[in-house]
Symmetry: C2
Subunit: 166 residues, 2 copies
């Protein structure tokens, strides 16, 4: 079985919604409205300025989309040399290295596109697994936003800004 | 002469463009495309999720819009209790306290709207006057983004993230 990362196609909408829907509904890792509709969620994830990829497990005659990420310029104009990404993994594929594979792909792709750095603007502080994963890829915490996120179970938690040069 | 801060009206478009146009063209303080059209610039400044104000000097039978700012929630969902603002002052009114008046107004307005903190995501590091002004209002530098901004004269400079509770 191989995990292939490829550009998302229109036919992936159901699979993408199957991943981002539960993540948005849970409301624990992304600052998005928990009741966001499928249409609004897909419009956001597939915004005109987002380049969207899916991670698909292929082999043995079956395939399944297990993750998706977007890439965009984090700022316009004088800030457009810094990339920003958002990654989501299917709940049933958690812990299988899907996010790791997508992050590795995104760093290569960002370099290929000419970005010179990558920044995550809002990593929820209680999402320790994600923070550890980004750190393993060389991202550093360069900012801490006190009580910036209302976690549905934990209440107000910090968010962090993470960054690395490419 | 009094500096009045009030919600922007459609009739303020020319005045707003007269302020944000030169600032965008200069490209030294905002991460926006320097060649942004008037239409795109006004669409950005007056985005549906932006609440826009103007600072108008009134008295002696004349009035002039000398500054404008927007307020929005910096994030959606679990991050929607943190406000974000952008402020621009007319070049000819620089140093007259327009930004200070707008910032004071925005802090009051953000409290009235129920925001619990305010964050500036991308203050260009070479914009020392702005940083000092925000610090005088209690904002702290909570993050530093290395070489995040390509300044047209200075080359790559840092940007900082600034934050204060309300």
């Amino acid at each position: 079985m191989t995990l292939l990362v490829r550009p998302a196609q229109a036919r992936d909408d159901d699979a993408i919604w199957g991943i981002i829907g539960p993540t948005i509904r849970a409301g624990e890792t992304y600052a998005l409205p928990r009741d966001m509709s499928r249409t609004d969620a897909l419009s956001y994830w597939k915004s005109p300025d987002h380049e969207v990829f899916v991670a698909e497990r292929v082999g043995e005659g079956v395939s399944a989309v297990l993750g998706t990420y977007y890439m965009r310029a984090n700022q316009q104009g004088g800030g457009s040399h810094v990339a920003n990404c958002g990654y989501m993994t299917a709940q049933e594929a958690s812990g299988q290295g899907v996010a790791r594979t997508m992050c590795a792909h995104s760093l290569e792709h960002a370099r290929a596109r000419g970005f010179r750095a990558m920044q995550f603007n809002f990593v929820v502080g209680s999402n320790e697994r994600a923070i550890a994963l980004w750190q393993s890829f060389g991202f550093a915490i360069v900012g801490r936003l006190a009580e910036a996120f209302e976690h549905p179970r934990l209440g107000l938690v910090d968010a962090v800004v993470m960054h690395r040069m490419l």
